[in-house]
């Protein structure tokens, strides 16, 4: 099964749509609720990161019998220091984004905690690619 979603930077009104669709899909194929919850947290944070930091992005979801693999690829400023960005509490979000309650610096660590595997590649001034994998059994 494959799903694809587009995200525009700055448009928070659509954040959560991909997570919600993936959640429905995983429910439909009877994945354990505990696993669905983890996938949803990781994917939602990824969506919000694209909204908050990038110009635009795409989400590619692949589900097979054993795992769900999600690539989140954006065009944007990229991440200068990935180690720093992974630290809980570190954030480069704007004041407007923080006022909404985002930008607490917990996004990437929430993703890491909830993904079984996570990888992050980024090029400054080009963009970022995050891959998260969760095993369904």
């Amino acid at each position: 099964m494959k799903l694809e979603f587009a995200i525009s930077g700055g448009d928070f009104s659509r954040a959560g749509i991909a997570s919600s669709e993936v959640k429905k899909m995983l429910k439909k194929i009877n994945v354990e609720p505990k696993i669905i919850k983890r996938v949803v947290v990781a994917l939602y944070e990824a969506e919000v990161n694209v909204c908050a930091h990038a110009y635009k992005g795409n989400i590619f979801v692949e589900i097979d019998g054993t795992k769900i693999k999600i690539d989140i690829i954006d065009k944007g400023p990229g991440i200068e220091n990935i180690d720093e960005a992974m630290k809980e509490g570190y954030s480069t979000a704007s004041d407007a984004v923080r006022e909404m309650g985002f930008g607490a610096g917990m996004g990437l660590s929430n993703m890491k905690k909830n993904a079984d595997e996570m990888s992050l590649e980024s090029k400054v001034d080009e963009g970022t690619k995050v891959t998260i994998i969760n095993y369904l059994k």
């Binding site: 928070f12 009104s13 954040a15 959560g16 997570s19 919600s20 959640k23 919850k37 949803v40 947290v41 939602y44 944070e45 919000v48 909404m100 309650g101 985002f102 607490a104 917990m106 996004g107 929430n110 905690k113 909830n114």
Partner: protein, 111 residues
């Protein structure tokens, strides 16, 4: 305990979700940081917050919260109400501050 019990006991306003007040409550979570709520709240929680925008409902729905309580007389944005109606999650309100309403809800749930 379900949502209609706390509406009655804590004298809460129901902004939307009249038809879903039978949702069962298992606990509560208090935070205005959305990633904190995303990462650490649980299914069946009542989420107490001062955030009123639409993303609140995206999170409440993904986390399957029982209801959301807005504090200090804050009202939900119109698109938040619309989203809540689609998701079937009640948005409630109080004029009390977060500390007070959290304490009252905690005592009620502990009974």
């Amino acid at each position: 305990m379900n949502v209609s019990d706390i509406v009655k006991e804590l004298d809460l306003t129901v902004f939307t979700g009249e038809d879903y007040l039978s949702r069962e409550i298992y606990g509560g979570y208090v935070s205005d940081l959305l990633s904190d709520v995303m990462g650490f709240s649980s299914e069946g929680d009542v989420w107490i917050t001062l955030q009123t925008h639409k993303n609140v409902m995206a999170i409440a729905s993904l986390k399957e919260h029982a209801a959301v309580i807005l504090v200090k007389g804050f009202k939900p944005d119109q698109d938040t109400i619309n989203h809540a109606a689609e998701e079937g999650i009640p948005i409630l309100g109080t004029h009390k501050k977060t500390f007070e309403i959290s304490g009252e809800l905690y005592s009620l749930l502990k009974k």
